[in-house]
Symmetry: C2
Subunit: 222 residues, 2 copies
């Protein structure tokens, strides 16, 4: 059976979990603990990072974007990265926007302060870092609203890896309880549409022991 | 004419410059100043980041990995991302290793301390941050040596985007004068082979006013 090594609140693991389900591929989850650097994980991926995909024949693929591209090549339908070079470039630009920029400015900071400091290091959350991440979040929500106002899905006419990457990051931030949805109705409308997809449902059942999500998290009518 | 918007010491701009030359594609460079956020650049790429590729017909492609994938799709020969899904996954894993991990642990820190603090902000270099980046660099040089000892090129039998990404980052660090080549002969052997390629030559002529490279930088027999 195909396996996905992951950490429940790692946005890149969530991206792949969504992509696998959108492509109707079966897989088992293998939980990894952040910072633990298990021998087996290091053997599969020398960086020690999740996600890692291991195919039934033992082929291991590491790095979330490399895995997404691999899935698109090995299992082309339904297409998640677009059909023309220009459309594919736009999907990849936006997926990278969320995986790099949004992650650096929002997700990684909130995860570090609210979760990793609790389960890996032993530090107190830095309220200034959290405040800054929340300020950045509002700017990103405006960008999502701007895109959603002009396009059916974030990268154009079709649901794509851009929506998946964005929703993976937002779902982590939403788990941490920090999205001012009421001030950003267009972004919320788009997120409701992604959250209602069957591929999304298993994510809503995930939880990290000792850090339960807020009540609205799994609610489709939030 | 095709244009590449770039900053001379930005490793992602260097990656694309090398990829374009390896594919024998003509282009002009447009210099962008870090942190300036020019209106034209923001119009081409809302993140305000370089590199951005603009084709002769006006098509703009942003994000360095999206541009690399676009070039591979639009101009397949010579292939820089491998030919089978597994080979392509390994090229992408390693390109991401350098573009994310090496960048975060080495290039971005050294650029910040040694260049950006001088031309964008007005701060003093933090010697502890530089010391840490150099310690990380030695671990990455060992990984390059480990790969080069087992393979012809970093991702396997063929020169690829993995070599290009790694060399782009190392060339920036080399410009800043910090690579202990003598302690890492296998990594040096690999770098000499990349540095000797015709695609690499124009990079060696680049310089940033007020921050000249060390004497060995452009030397092929360093």
């Amino acid at each position: 059976m195909r396996r996905l090594h992951r950490f429940a609140l790692n946005p890149f693991s969530r991206k792949l979990r969504l992509a696998l389900r959108e492509k109707n591929l079966d897989f088992e989850l293998v939980d990894e603990r952040p910072g633990e650097r298990r021998e087996e994980l290091l053997h599969l991926n020398p960086s020690g990072e999740v996600p890692v995909l291991v195919e039934a024949d033992g082929t291991a693929v590491a790095d979330s974007q490399a895995i997404a591209e691999y899935l698109e090549e090995a299992y082309p339908e339904p297409a998640l990265i677009g059909r023309t070079p220009a459309a594919r470039a736009e999907v990849r630009r936006l997926a990278a926007w969320f995986d790099r920029k949004f992650d650096r400015e929002v997700t990684a900071r909130l995860l570090e302060e609210k979760i990793l400091k609790r389960i890996v290091a032993s530090g107190q959350p830095d309220s200034e870092a959290i405040r800054l991440a929340n300020a950045n979040l509002r700017i990103h929500l405006e960008y999502i609203a701007w895109l959603a106002d002009r396009r059916t899905w974030l990268a154009g006419d079709h649901f794509s890896l851009a929506d998946i990457a964005a929703a993976a990051h937002l779902s982590v931030v939403d788990y941490l309880g920090d999205i001012p949805w009421d001030g950003h109705p267009e972004a919320k409308d788009w997120y409701v549409r992604v959250k209602s997809r069957p591929s999304f449902r298993p994510l809503l059942a995930d939880y990290v022991p000792g850090a339960p999500p807020p009540r609205h998290y799994a609610d489709l009518d939030f």
